[in-house]
Symmetry: C2
Subunit: 377 residues, 2 copies
Amino acid sequence: MNDGLPGDLTLRHPRGETALFVGRGAFERGRPHLGAWLSGRQAFLVSSEAVLAHHRPVCAEIEKLCADLVVLPVPDGESAKSLAVAESVWRQMLRAEARRDSLLLGLGGGSVGDLTGFVAATFLRGIEMALLPTSLLAQVDAAIGGKAAIDLPAAKNAVGAFWHPRWVVADLDWLGSLPERELRAGLAEVVKIAAAADAPLFERLERDLPACLAGDLERLDATVRSAAAVKVRIVEADPDEADRRRLLNLGHTLAHAIETASEYRGLRHGEAVAYGLLFATRLARARGADERFGDRLAALVSALAPPPLPTLSVEALQDAMRRDKKARREGVVWVLPMRVGEIELVADLDPAMLRAELEAFLSAPWEGFSRAADGVR
Amino acid sequence: MNDGLPGDLTLRHPRGETALFVGRGAFERGRPHLGAWLSGRQAFLVSSEAVLAHHRPVCAEIEKLCADLVVLPVPDGESAKSLAVAESVWRQMLRAEARRDSLLLGLGGGSVGDLTGFVAATFLRGIEMALLPTSLLAQVDAAIGGKAAIDLPAAKNAVGAFWHPRWVVADLDWLGSLPERELRAGLAEVVKIAAAADAPLFERLERDLPACLAGDLERLDATVRSAAAVKVRIVEADPDEADRRRLLNLGHTLAHAIETASEYRGLRHGEAVAYGLLFATRLARARGADERFGDRLAALVSALAPPPLPTLSVEALQDAMRRDKKARREGVVWVLPMRVGEIELVADLDPAMLRAELEAFLSAPWEGFSRAADGVR
């Protein structure tokens, strides 16, 4: 599907290119290329103990490919993305005499990828890296596009860089170890990508989402490959998120606020995104978006069955939004889904209207949507 | 000297361009451009208390140019370049509700510039910045080229990024406040640039260095402008320091080792570079470099009159060099000055020879050079 190039997909960015191997058998296809890259090099593998325990065979294969592999375990989930963890990784790399031509690999979910990217971007002013995402969310979204960051207590992703991996190996067969909750959270990002940018993927989800959630690997493979290809296309068009790439923040303004306000102890990222999509749909509808599209999108979110929304105040959410890095001079910019594959960026939402919508949403998130619409069959 | 473009010099880099105002009257020339850039924006000024006290009028002018200026004082010198200081700056910016379109200014010496660049590169994945270097060293070298970093205890510049300022305003008239020791240290980097890359600048130094050191502002102005222009040319040819730009590390392998081994409490950076230049000249001579050029370079270094070398062991220096980020798979790469404006990169220096040269150098750094050569008239 990517004539003459080493990956299933290629992402061209201002500093070079990323080769991506995506879907079933990705590691098999990517291994010779990873092998040539790692050959004779010192490499560092950033991962969590839980991921390492699930993916011993992959680690063993990687170890065989390089001259010297140092495994650097980091905490699971969002707590990997702290300055203290980054500092510990930098220090361990220095102790192991890492150099500019040392290589970094990140094996794990979105948090491991974000941390690995940030460390790679900054260690000795930048070294090469590969991402091996093991969560669906990371395979279809987080690992693609070079966004790397750690959190500060006051804001998620407050400190980071754009730093693209040389390789992404996103093997769907690794997801066997994935709890269903993670699968649902990952598919939330696929719904986002589809709603914001790709009508055919949206229609595919309406057809195949239940099968994907039921564990149909063949349909999940096709869905994941499509989502990755759409994401690559969006990133290539706007690598630094100056403009068009902001459409990928659909659902994320509220999602980040939910995560910050609940100190990352409530919903998973993908689950927060599910609610973020629903709320953005609600706002879009209040601004004249297609009613039926809103029902279809709500039906997809409903099929993802996110756990109940935690109890949060309007004030706490608004406070978190104001500090979100997507805020600009003009205030919070909302990404609103207007029609299938089409969004609008809106900076001038009336504060009173926003507050009223937020209050209504917090008390009854699904109200007003025909969840059993003919969207998901 | 830069037809139709806003600066005295323009540096084109992969992500855009930097406009530089250099020499006497630079702030006057740059102010309208800074004004247009800052207009209506929230800006943060990173500087040290000592620099702020010396440059109150400049700060007042900058404050007038923007909508909202927050001054963030940081420690003086190398101690500004710590992770703790960077974290404090990030947090203060978040508290002040900084956004992606907030602007950062660094007013101070090389350390303030390095810290400011690192914070700008990483805050919300990168915001725009301007550098206003107030030391000669920063005006001719550190502020040009986008290298930004902080130190970890085990290695100087261990964590950083390439992040170019939008503007560099390097006003020579600000140097009135500069102790002579800083002036000498800054001219060490000019000697480096000249020896490594530009014969006409080298000859200018042989003619004008004593006058520059004696406070002849006119000759210093011409020297600084030439040095900045040479540096811009080198950076443009190799922005990521993959190859040619490494010539600017002339003298820095030993210099960083001296600084690390003495925990930054011995010589200033420019002074350490002076000794580094001398030692590199010694190694170059041992590999057949032009004898007379060695004497001429030693004479320039001698004119800089660095303070005595601190007492350091060969072992401590070699240990620091091994961890230096310039080390690659092939080991430490030495930049050796062979002829005026010409260097060689050497990775295979015989360890026994290096050790012997280092021992001899530590006991008698100037031995073997005709310091009173006809170099400096």
